[in-house]
Symmetry: C2
Subunit: 237 residues, 2 copies
């Protein structure tokens, strides 16, 4: 009788899960070399092709990397913040676009999270963060800037604000929320007047960051959220 609890999942998925568990549990440590594909095939009693499919699954999650050549093989990968962020952004973006998440809900979440950074950014921001913010504000005021470029600059502005908290975990977590909004934001047409309103709030926020006034950053973000929501309501109506 075939097990009726485990509905015969693919061998390559089983093997991938097995190795993944070993990595997550710490049984395999960073930069440790896995057995060669041939050895894994022997160990799991499957063909090399099946082992390879399993390894490709793990590679897609950045859990391992592979090297060719005599001393090559599959190695446990140290997940970098960059790689993790890139994955998270892809996932978050698709999640929003595929699940009919309303602009309102996504926007609310984004600004709630961003306000969470305000006290820390106020406390720890460095001159470089303020420089980036002011540079992006300048770009946003340029004539003939496309809506998409405006959005991209908006994202850069907000990331600088978040980075001001000087907490890489916070930056990583926020990246998904901020970047994933971009496709939704790109649906909005920004009139000259609404751009001016947004830029004015950006200036307010930047000044508040420079003055290390957390409360003022917070209220600026809240005003920005309200402005964005109003704009979106107009577009989606």
């Amino acid at each position: 009788m075939k097990s009726n609890l485990v509905p015969t999942v693919d061998l390559s998925a089983q093997i991938a899960a097995n190795i993944r568990d070993a990595i997550v549990s710490g049984a395999l440590i960073v930069d440790e070399r896995l057995p060669s594909e041939a050895e894994l095939a022997q160990k799991f009693e499957v063909s090399r092709a099946t082992v390879r499919e399993a390894l490709k699954r793990l590679a897609a999650q950045s859990l391992i990397r592979t090297q060719r050549g005599a001393t090559g093989g599959a190695f446990v990968n140290r997940i970098s913040f960059e790689a993790a962020q890139a994955q998270q952004i892809t996932t978050s973006t698709l999640l929003l676009s595929m699940n009919d998440v309303s602009f309102e809900t996504a926007c609310e979440a984004r600004y709630a999270l961003e306000r969470a950074c305000a006290p820390l950014s106020a406390q720890r921001r460095k001159p470089s963060h303020i420089d980036v913010m002011r540079a992006e504000i300048a770009r946003q005021g340029q004539q003939g800037l496309s809506d998409e470029a405006f959005c991209a600059s908006d994202v850069a502005f907000h990331r600088a604000l978040v980075d001001g908290a000087c907490n890489p975990v916070l930056s990583y977590q926020l990246a998904g929320a901020v970047e994933a909004m971009q496709p939704l934001m790109n649906m909005i047409t920004f009139s000259a007047r609404s751009r001016d309103a947004i830029i004015a709030l950006h200036v307010t926020i930047t000044d508040a960051v420079q003055a290390q006034d957390a409360a003022l950053i917070g209220s600026g973000l809240t005003a920005l959220e309200a402005e964005t929501q109003t704009l979106a309501r107009r577009v989606f109506a």
Copy 2:
């Protein structure tokens, strides 16, 4: 001449990237069927094995699912919040454990994000959320509860608090931050006295949620963060 900009990346990775772009850009829509493996092999002029490795990569990211049988094939997957969360938790957990992120940094990020939920949770929490929180508090007070079970209950408590905001995007984003902390938290030994202190704060927070007092939730979380940081400092010293 071999391209000297793209250092000959694997064919299966190239094909995966190609299909991934089609999904992310919306050229392939949810539940659409991809060509069969044989057709893809023809189209990309590679063997079926290589196509399969590419498809497994996409499957590992929950971008596609496959079905066997006559009408089977690979279908664009609608990423669910659950699947996205599970992935994010795995990634976040490894990120923290592999990159020597200090407990302090992770803890700070977590509580900053959690405080971001306080105003929304105060406003929208349902009786069911409060029920969960009180149930977890009761569990945390049980005699003979292991440290790990205490931590697990702590996570459940905090997730209920976050879910109280009734914003699925927020819940999703927070899941990574809260769950990824668990291995770090598990390194802490919770004495009876420190458990009592934590439970008392949980009660304060729950009462504040019930009373819809956002400020009080926030200060409760801040106190809890301070308590946790103190405990951790003692352990890691």
